[in-house]
Symmetry: C2
Subunit: 357 residues, 2 copies
Amino acid sequence: MKPTLQTVADAVGVSRSTVSNAYSRPDQLSPALREKIHEAARRLGYPGPDPTARSLRRGRVGAIGVLFTSALSYAFTDPYAVLFLRGVAESAERHGSGLLLVPLSEADEQAGIEAVRNAAVDGFCVYCVPASHAALDVTRSRGLPLVAAERPVEPGPDSMYVGIDEAAAARTVGSHLARLGHRRVAIVSDLLVAERRTGPVALDGPADIRYDVDVTRERLRGFAEGLAEGGVGWSDLFLVNAGTNSRAEGARAAGYALDRADRPTAVLAITDLLALGVLDALATRGLGPGRDVSVTGFDDIPEAAAAGLTTIRQPAVEKGAIAGRLLLDPPEDPAARQVLLPTDLVVRASTGPVERK
Amino acid sequence: MKPTLQTVADAVGVSRSTVSNAYSRPDQLSPALREKIHEAARRLGYPGPDPTARSLRRGRVGAIGVLFTSALSYAFTDPYAVLFLRGVAESAERHGSGLLLVPLSEADEQAGIEAVRNAAVDGFCVYCVPASHAALDVTRSRGLPLVAAERPVEPGPDSMYVGIDEAAAARTVGSHLARLGHRRVAIVSDLLVAERRTGPVALDGPADIRYDVDVTRERLRGFAEGLAEGGVGWSDLFLVNAGTNSRAEGARAAGYALDRADRPTAVLAITDLLALGVLDALATRGLGPGRDVSVTGFDDIPEAAAAGLTTIRQPAVEKGAIAGRLLLDPPEDPAARQVLLPTDLVVRASTGPVERK
DNA sequence: TTGAAAGCGATACCAA
DNA sequence: TTGGTATCGCTTTCAA
């Protein structure tokens, strides 16, 4: 039988309350008694108040939940996600809270719902989950503080949110390439369509927005608007869907564009990870980035610099840190609950003027 | 007032038990009543059974805790740690459990202890925590399943453990270099001494083992034994402590060795991350890896291959996955509770024969 | 198939 | 400073 508060109380000959105080409010006790209690606890192998019972009573758990689409392990595969998580972790740590990673399996939606229902947390951080995911409703219904990274989950003046102006940032990429003279342009992105396949897709235009993840849509819209400044129309864009946000699929997706007769002079990837794959695809074909084909990414993960990738820099760690802070200590002022972070276009060697042959 | 089971029960006009059954054992109810209950719950905004209360009653939480030394955010900084975590996450996900990251701050030991005490989990995975850390005792005292990665936390026949033969693996590194003719050798490692500073240190020898983290000690012992095969004695080794296990500190630490008058012909780093830093230091000085100075790492993180680093490959993701599995479903057979994984010496371009000038 | 009652282990208020 | 008592919200026999 595992020892409980009661066990210790009986052993010492005091009440439960007193033992509880010995742990939770040491100053409410005479040092002598406190020591006596701790000593007895040690002797009996009492590990201290049960966290679950304590949480139930206190109404506070001491952990925040982070929701992830796709496999939980994805969190550790995408460098950008890792940076974001790291920021969240820093805030949580400072606050003495743990970080509960909530699996949101793609294959089994019901499992994700259960996971959210069962998550013992004080608040949720939603990161890059498709708006249609049923688990989002469940998350909201938990009635806990909720902060969305990338996109407001619950529209409304007091919903919490930390993100960037995706479209505006993407627009700078588009106009950068437009100014360089690019007219034949391909875009590589995941989540363009519901299916997880890699290959060209046709979309009617930015007006016909059916993408599920707002980030995708907004970036795409930005790309298109920026390129339009150079006269590149929507119909001039060659869209390739990537099955997953990974380097390998980025390379595969790029292949569909690069192997066309009228090869694009620029490939815009919607994430750095995909862009690195695009660079791989160039290398395979003996094409020079920024010379034969310009390539851009988005996020500015550490690898991007080494690869000389032109991309959008956004403060990933800081974004996570802010998300954590909002969650653990929601500001009174509604205006402070919605944070928009700055971004920069970082121009490196992977983009250059289109060659006039 | 937040709705509870009771709220719903009252609304429908049934007892709490019945509502509880509607959620936890749907088959114990007539479909009609069940639907009626769910409908009422929806209407009242009842999010389903409270996870904390449920955990308390059931005695099971549905999450496993992972302990990390140093800042919690370190988990996301070290590529090897990320791989390991990913394995743990995969196992947890398959089991429908969450992953609670437990911060074990270095600065504030008491905070770490509290974090362990408060962690609502069904088991702990201890990863690379110094044996002396007070939180370890607390972890053990929780009386939950406990699996150690890297090193048995609670010695004993039924303690759970997944790791590699650190010393044997390190020995292959040492003898590899010995065979290549290296006699002036430096070792770069974190945790050689208690202080977190970067710089040369003197240790009496592998016999005088005072390192806190067993992994460090074992690898060091292996290095020494392997090198001894070529006649390199302990006193011939130049030891440099790295303040943290990071690329930057690896580079700094390497500087102390590389800038000596009698520059070593080989630098053994105790992790790949440090080794990458050593390579950086070589590059800064215009020295060629494997030519002017041989460099080895340990772990074989993805970046190692690209850098052409000779290193020890160990199955990081699998290690994590096994740790998770042991925790969530401890095998009856005591022998199956201790898993030793295979390792390989991967020879790449960063090591070569010593130049006879 | 449904309900009544007994906890799970702890905390907090209020007296003493 | 210490103790009594009433919960926290749910699950689980055991009867009905």
